[in-house]
């Protein structure tokens, strides 16, 4: 590993700077991604919380969603929080078409209700970091179905709220609003592996690296 990890934060709309802070704290170099050009040379990506309809309108119309789907198929590690979980889901309840997809889960937008139902809770977390995680749910999506290959890391009540499959991780809450770095650390680790095995680091030989 000779170049700093370049991890994109999708910056269409939502909590971008919070993820940038967390990514810097795990030693990565965050870059804001607003169009296809921003996807070049990335080792990993965060899809932040925000409004899915805004993401669908702005990124869908510009072709960015298609480009993101292509990079996801290519194995790019992606962490999605809240709206980012919806973006990574293969199925969205009530007929919305999937966005980036890749995770065999079905989600319902705002499944817990309105903002008055938004809450904080301490929940157990398997296979990532140590101890419980302080989960901040804000108009969070509800995971209604989880496919066979998907690992469940955390549940709130009976509902899965942190799930992963290979290089894709989706979280219904907002680790970027707390000091808990375990999800960003996971992404940095995945990104490091991805950078090592893919040819992205040949960019350094071309003098166009980070």
């Amino acid at each position: 590993m000779t170049h700093p990890l370049r991890i994109g934060v999708l910056a269409i709309q939502g909590a971008v700077s919070e993820h940038e802070r967390a990514l810097r704290a795990v030693g990565a170099d965050p870059v804001r991604v607003r169009d296809e050009r921003g996807l070049d040379l990335l080792d990993g990506l965060v899809v932040p919380g925000g409004e899915t309809t805004t993401l669908r309108r702005v990124a869908g119309d510009s072709g960015l969603i298609d480009a993101l789907r292509a990079r996801r198929r290519d194995g790019l590690p992606i962490l999605g929080t809240c709206a980012g979980m919806i973006a990574l889901a293969d199925e969205i309840a009530d007929g919305d078409t999937p966005l980036i997809g890749g995770l065999d889960i079905s989600v319902r937008r705002n499944g817990y209700g309105r903002q008055v139902a938004s809450c904080e809770a301490q929940i157990a977390c398997d296979g990532l970091g140590t101890g419980p995680v302080e989960a901040v749910f804000i108009r969070a999506p509800v995971v209604e179905r989880v496919g066979e290959g998907v690992t469940i890391h955390a549940r709130y009540g009976d509902t899965p709220v942190a799930v992963s499959d290979g290089p894709l991780m989706a979280v219904a809450f907002h680790p970027e609003l707390t000091a808990d770095l375990r999800f960003h650390q996971w992404l940095a680790d995945q990104a490091r592996e991805y950078a090592a095995r893919s040819d992205v680091h040949t960019k350094e030989g071309l003098g166009v690296g980070a």
């Binding site: 709309q13 309809t53 805004t54 705002n110 809450c119 904080e120 804000i138 108009r139 009540g157």
Partner: protein, 301 residues
């Protein structure tokens, strides 16, 4: 009380309240007066809508006392869209705020656009589970609102004018105020707090962090994609567009253009593309032509 715990975790915490504003960043919040407008706003990519009976330009024209909207109207808008719905209460009118919380609105705007109900006190916003956004014209006013529990700030501008000049003045005033605190010696912060008429602890926090402790949007006079991008380049976290969209000739196209302008606010090529062919913006009012009593920004204490 605002904070409650139970099977569903702790609701109404300051993290949960200010967190929703953080999720709205980089977005456009649009004033809508009915379900059809709300759908147009959502379809255009608005990150939230503000449900109200009259947009500010019509409140100006109508005159009289402007109050909280009819709950039926607010509920109709809430049922029409999946994005967050905000609604306005009068400054200091905590019963209107209680009603809006009972309607499970996502954010309450304690707004100078409505006629103030109290000429000395704002709502004690700590006592609510629903978060509040409040207007401010400078750093001291912003910190006073945050001290009362506002989880989000918006610069006031001059609503219903289609004239961005006051929005610019207020955003520069807040960022200028922050810069002065950054440059101050620690022993100068006591006097700074007194001058700002703001709590010392918040003044120290801003001096140390160099930013407001909550999200700050721009409001009041944004009428074009270029206006929206101007406010973003001046440091706004996002924008409210009130009269600017539905008082224009082609609201759907303008709404989409302003959403794109806020995402790509620093890319003049995108701004040029989205600014083209939008037909007429709202007519607009020169601020100097308003009598002092007609200014909305001076409401709030």
């Amino acid at each position: 009380m605002a904070e409650q715990s139970g099977a569903n975790g702790r609701t109404g915490t300051s993290l949960v309240k200010s967190g929703l504003a953080q999720m709205l960043k980089g977005g456009v919040i649009m004033d809508v007066v009915n379900a059809d407008q709300a759908r147009i706003a959502e379809e255009a990519g608005a990150c939230a809508v503000m449900a109200l009976e009259r947009i500010p330009a019509d409140i100006r024209a109508h005159g009289g006392v402007a109050r909280m909207s009819d709950p039926d109207l607010i509920m109709g808008i809430k049922d029409a869209v999946s994005i967050p719905v905000m609604a306005k209460c009068r400054i200091g009118h905590f019963v209107e705020a209680q009603i809006l919380q009972s309607l499970e609105i996502d954010y309450i705007d304690e707004s100078e656009v409505l006629t103030p109900a109290d000429d000395a006190h704002h709502v004690d916003k700590h006592g609510f589970t629903v978060p509040f956004v409040c207007g401010a014209t400078d750093l001291g006013e912003a910190l006073r609102r945050i001290n009362e529990g506002a989880a989000m700030i918006r610069t006031k501008g001059e609503a219903g004018t289609g004239n961005v000049v006051e929005a610019v003045r207020h955003m520069r005033a807040i960022h200028g105020g922050i810069a002065r605190l950054r440059a101050a010696r620690p022993d100068e912060l006591y006097a700074a707090a007194k001058d700002l008429r703001a709590p010392f602890e918040l003044v120290v926090a801003v001096a140390e962090s160099g930013e407001l402790p909550v999200v700050n949007f721009s409001a009041g006079g944004i009428a074009t994609p270029a206006d929206a991008a101007l406010m973003m380049q001046l440091g706004a976290d996002g924008v409210f567009v009130g009269s600017g969209i539905f008082k224009s000739e082609a609201p759907a196209a303008r709404a989409r253009a302003i959403v794109e302008a806020v995402t790509h606010f620093s890319d003049p090529d995108v701004l040029a593309r989205v600014s083209a062919g939008l037909k007429d913006a709202m007519p607009g009012i020169e601020i100097g032509s308003l009598a002092e009593g007609e200014l909305l920004q001076t409401r709030g204490w």
